[in-house]
Symmetry: C2
Subunit: 184 residues, 2 copies
DNA sequence: GTCATATAGTTAGATAATCTAATTTATTAT
DNA sequence: ATAATAAATTAGATTATCTAACTATATGAC
């Protein structure tokens, strides 16, 4: 992630904020005829918001020295703990990354003793990944902050706005997960 | 970004999809008393969606061999072209990254001849960054795809749902930009 | 007018998160 | 028994970020 943590002094004359208008004007000139302008405008805002949302979450989790995506993996292990056998392969599939990338993630978490690997006795090619007591302690410590950060993302909305957003988000999420072939 | 491009075969038994329910149960057990459950649920969905939205955009832009964040910078240079003097410092401030990171980004774009640096004659410490004709050509080539990708993000929504989302998005974006101290 | 300080940009060196290709080990199927 | 397949890792690369140090230039205090 990366937001201005401390001492780094910026330009005297910062760029004036353009707002969305110039983007819309550019869109009028450059979008294909089949692209709905109103939808593209919405999508643009969604993308901007998505970027900022992830920055906020990483910022809120930074006191725990973990990024949102690694915390997400610990949460995954927490929720599957005792139920399914979680393997590096399954993690890679679930996160939409390569197995080699999952190995690297797990190495990082294992180094901090937050997860443990154990060779499967059924199929000795496989590895059983589980969260350790230390990992569970970290998750427990960070969860209240995580939930309050989630909640803070929509704190400005009125109750009816939240209601409207809820319905729309569920629909958008389902569609985009289908599209990317991922899903929690 | 990073989504399964091709040949990498995944686990036989993939993890069952949990859906949002187990997360909500965990929230009930672990959120602080002051955290509104309904808001946190919404925020969680927003975060998941945000992640997927950025993946979609990078995926759609990948044929142009550029990521969404670099494309965003080229767009920024396009929109400020002829108006403001754009310096690496101003870019760093605008993107919420360090000047050293901006230097690296600009090096990458300059290597491909999409941007040019020119020493300012007014203050010779400063560098004037501008998009080149080649950069402009790339942007023009990619923009129709960019807009259609934006539009595709919300293509499943009904007109009234879009209307509702529009109002809410504008509000959320304004608030989160204020919070992060960034903004376009 | 010189000298200390501040600013803009870059360089150097590090880390995280991803990738592909190759390798190792184990299982399955012909 | 051997070939093909599968799971995980290793090796080596790229991108995107960071901090700290450095260079060159400008400004401001005296």
């Amino acid at each position: 992630m990366g937001r201005k943590n401390n001492h780094d002094h910026f330009a005297d004359q910062s760029l004036p904020k353009l707002g969305v208008q110039p983007y819309l004007e550019l869109m009028d000139k450059t979008a294909s005829g089949s692209t709905d302008r109103h939808s593209a405008h919405l999508g643009l805002l969604m993308m901007w918001l998505g970027d900022n949302v992830l920055d906020v979450m990483d910022l809120e989790l930074s006191p725990f020295h973990i990024t949102e995506s690694k915390f997400d993996l610990l949460l995954l292990l927490t929720l599957h703990d005792g139920r399914e056998l979680v393997t590096p392969s399954a993690i890679a599939e679930r996160l939409g990354i390569r197995r080699a990338s999952a190995t690297a993630l797990l190495d990082w978490l294992e180094k901090r003793n937050w997860i443990a690997r154990e060779q499967s006795s059924l199929d000795r090619r496989m590895v059983h990944v589980s969260i350790t007591p230390e990992g569970r302690a970290l998750v427990e410590k960070a969860l209240p902050t995580f939930w309050s950060a989630c909640s803070s993302l929509v704190s400005e909305l009125e109750p009816e706005e939240r209601k409207a957003l809820e319905k729309v988000l569920a629909k958008l999420n389902a569609a985009i997960e289908r599209r990317l072939g991922v899903g929690r």
